[in-house]
Amino acid sequence: MSAEATHRFILYVTGRTRRSERASSNLRELCAQRLASGSYEIEVVDVLDHPARAETDRVIATPTVIRTTPLPRRRVIGDLSIADQAAHALDLPGLLRSVADDQAEAPR
């Protein structure tokens, strides 16, 4: 765990299902597009292996992502399939310039 990370996330999932994988890749993509590489950490917790952690964090639904850093915590339920909405819910910054440029060029 690097001390410099500005954003930390815990992603709770149930088993290695397609929904779990989808949530995980959606979260990684969100971070890659909006946070500088190396400035964030994602921990994936399987509730089947760690029910007590789910209890402590009072997680009901899976997938649930909790942004633990920076405070205040943010919690979002679901597979994060709508990127803009997920970014807004997790209070992430806008798209990185390089990503924004790529997307702006994409239609051509």
């Binding site: 089947l48 209890e55 639904a61 919690r75 979002v76 339920i77 709508i82």
Partner: protein, 503 residues
Amino acid sequence: MSTTDREIPKLSTGITGLDYVTEGGLPIGRTTLVAGSAGSAKTVFSVQFLAAGCEAGEAGVMITFEESVADIRRNVRALGWDLAAYEADNRWRFVDASPLVEGEDEIVGHFDFGALLARVEHAVSVTGATRVSFDSIGAVFSRFPDSTTVRNELYRLVHALREMGVTSVITAERIEEYGEIARFGVEEFVADNVIILRNVLEAERRRRTIEVLKLRGTGHRKGEFPFTILPGDGIVIIPLSSMELQMRSSDVRITSGNEELDTMCGGGLFRDSVILVSGATGTGKTLMVTEFIAGGIAQGERCLLMGFEESRDQLFRNARGWGFDFEGMEAAGNLKVACSYPETASIEDHLVSIKATIDEFRPNRVAIDSLSALERVASERGFREFVIALSSFIKHQEIAGLVTSTSKTLLGGESVTESHISTLTDSIILLRYVEMFGEVRRGMTVLKMRGSLHEKAIREFSIDHGGMHVGRRFANTTGILTGNPMHVPPSDAERIGQLFGDE
């Protein structure tokens, strides 16, 4: 194979009266839906279901979607359950799904209740729980707007509970007391067993009832049963007249405390019976109660007097006026006088406290003066149930019970108490004012004496410092009971007598 062999075994719930209503408890390993309107004691029910299990050495898991864990612990402490102690003992676990203080989680995309299931399974396995409560379904639907997903996930939860082999209770909201079973159509996925809790406003009074709507594959009692919530006991369901069948009756005679009255009754009252004394105010009911109590004490019996009309001081003073020393009797330990005003509690609470007093003091005879005073705090139906439950309880204890009822009118008449209790009591003694020739006199008759011959005459009686004195019969008078006494000239009476005379 007979049907009884195939019946699903039931788990004794430990909730007073519920095993009776469910004929043995809730089906083992199944989920029971407990539906009720706001304030119908759903949460108390779900906590008590687990607490009763804890008391019996079982363990329980409570999933709370609505009230916070701290609130539940605090709220039920007043009812007598120390959840923290159970938790410390690893017999109780909360799965806290109550709303977070920092606000609701946002929802983006698809989800399931995998984490909740994992937490419940974990809690059940570490405690070895046999009981699970879930409070409440309505709160889940209001927190997660995607009702299709919620419905699917709750169905999975119920299925998982069954797989775990636990007996569970799930609460759900209702909008109307007499309408659809529950909101959101939840009975679709917990359809096997349904219990309804009601809190109905009836004649300006709240009346709580419980009804077992269905217990699939097994029998249960039908209809609504009143219940109350008491500190130290929680929900106490009051079973009604159905206890009647098991009651014994003996032919042991006891004194009414008045020799002349004993003679009228054919040799005294029966021990295992309930006697109703009915009359207008001032006719001598309290005197009869006093003599009944003093007569018991004189025989060395334990006697309990419960007053709902007069204070202890008044009752003691009355007794002294007729030459009985209640203070001395109480000091000697064989008499207990308990007074309370009807308005201090609901009719169900009164019933439970009367029962508790009888259970504690273990009297040979009990007198209640007056039963009709309690009519003031009950709806008509509530009172009827109270009278039925009380008289069957008294008879069940195999003690003698004397209850009084005040008629509404001075002359003749009948009170609600009488119409409800008359078929349940073994004996009825009527005290009546008799207005004759500008004078008010008192008349008494034994209207009914189950299992015995008794005198049919209406006798005059008087009251002085020595108590009650039964005198001569009212000859040549008719219409006393209806409140219109008429003097019949002797010649007419003779002629009427001859109509039925032997040939």
